[in-house]
Symmetry: C2
Subunit: 301 residues, 2 copies
Amino acid sequence: MLDRIHLTIIQEVEKQGSLTAAANVLCLTQSALSHSMKKLEQQLGTDIWLREGRSLRLTQSGQYLLEVANRVLPQLTLAEERLRQFSQGERGTLRIGMECHPCYQWLLKVVSPYLAAWPDVDVDVKQKFQFGGIGALFGYEIDMLVTPDPLYKTGLHFQPVFDYEQVLVVGPQHRLRNAGFIQPEQLAEETLITYPVEIDRLDIYTQFMMPAGISPKRHKPIETTDIMLQMVASGRGVAALPRWLVSEYTTKFDVAPVRLGKHGIAKQIFLGIRESDAHIDYVKAFVELAQARHDMQEHKA
Amino acid sequence: MLDRIHLTIIQEVEKQGSLTAAANVLCLTQSALSHSMKKLEQQLGTDIWLREGRSLRLTQSGQYLLEVANRVLPQLTLAEERLRQFSQGERGTLRIGMECHPCYQWLLKVVSPYLAAWPDVDVDVKQKFQFGGIGALFGYEIDMLVTPDPLYKTGLHFQPVFDYEQVLVVGPQHRLRNAGFIQPEQLAEETLITYPVEIDRLDIYTQFMMPAGISPKRHKPIETTDIMLQMVASGRGVAALPRWLVSEYTTKFDVAPVRLGKHGIAKQIFLGIRESDAHIDYVKAFVELAQARHDMQEHKA
DNA sequence: CATAACGTATGAATAATATTCATCAATTTG
DNA sequence: CAAATTGATGAATATTATTCATACGTTATG
């Protein structure tokens, strides 16, 4: 069977000019090369070299094999180099899953410096999962999960990476705009605009209105943050978003944040990975980058 | 070292779904595959499969290796197939050298049916040789030589493939046009047009004029047969060409052949090969094709 | 829920293969 | 022409691959 060693020998013999010289370079004896190639020639049924006195000249088969060697061997050495990079965690693909809209905003800020620091790592972002984010993590659909709902299970590791306050966003001249904070009842006559997800994943429902037995007058799902705030700014309803996100949009739209309840709704985003991946350099680096940003945030607060 | 067998195993395991099934297909034991791959994993420093219960899942490294396998293995099997074809003489490159202009005309007629019969054989035609045609044959510059001057030496094999008469070509109203044959002296006042080669390779000199101590009034070298005959037809000189070649041009130009000397100049073209190549199918086929045409020609005559 | 069936891992034994050593023949070099 | 160099080759040896026997864990089944 035509094997890597044969291609290597042919290439080296051509480079060195003789079996003996090639044998030295390859740390083998001349005899070994001679035996190897003779066997190959017998198996292929064609000579690779014409033996002329004590020198070798490639036959047509030999020339062809040399071309194959020059083409194939680099592919194998590249593969080995790549695998070394994989094993050192220098290269890979980081598939990040996300389960919430604020997560996405946060991610954008982290990925950019990460990509710069790890040029050989590809980052894929996925948003839909058949069995939920945790399932996707366990099922190797993704390698990392950004979520507000950690699930501390064996085999997984979660850590908080971002703290924020969920606030109500109102437009100009809204009657609640200057309230220090609001009570659930004050939303009963409002149109509530949210991302199009199940109600039990909306904190303003689960943590604010549902405990008080209140529903908004109307509920309107909107895909994008921009459109959502545009509608809020034009007085078509109110929304619930992270305070920091609202702050970023106040120059663009005339909207204002209002605290939900006396103490506000405190939220956290978590980063989850499989514990078995914790040693991989480029995974570790991502977690550490997130950690560092989190520490910075706490220091400011 | 990443070797062909490893790529084969990875590919087959993926195809069959398990080590055990792949082992059967590859005519090895499950144990052999397990040992092989474990060793590779240790050398590469990275796992290829994640062992989950009794099934295997490719890691990133493994997926990458599978891609490499799918890309590289076909190249190796193709190479083996090509080498088999080389060994069977079904495929190759036939480098044909030529030393005379009539040779080229003859070759064109033979190559065309040959290429049709041997679609996997490339034919290269070369016309310039550092050490002459024979030298090129010995030096493996070419595999076949078409020449009027065979040299029967050990290691080479020549055989005649074309007989023809070298004749003088004259234009319309030429004073020699209707002579049955001419003597050397009758060329003393003519302009002789020939291909641009050394005089001692021109038969009309070596076999006709030089023995009689005669030179033409002028000697004009012309590259192509067409231009040459055009000049002859316009009365600008006379030329020496094979009779059959002149016949082919009589419809195109108003030229006529005249015998050189009472018995004419008889010429032969020979086909030479290295004896060591005589067994190669596509070489043998070419020689036989030439032989067949020669026999046909003799039969007609 | 026990148990059969199946898949992988592993150490030791064995078989197969590659490599070396010693030597020859042929060719080139000085 | 002697010395040096190169490739080929058979036998001895070392290395490597493969098998065998078996263990361990998972999955399927009645």
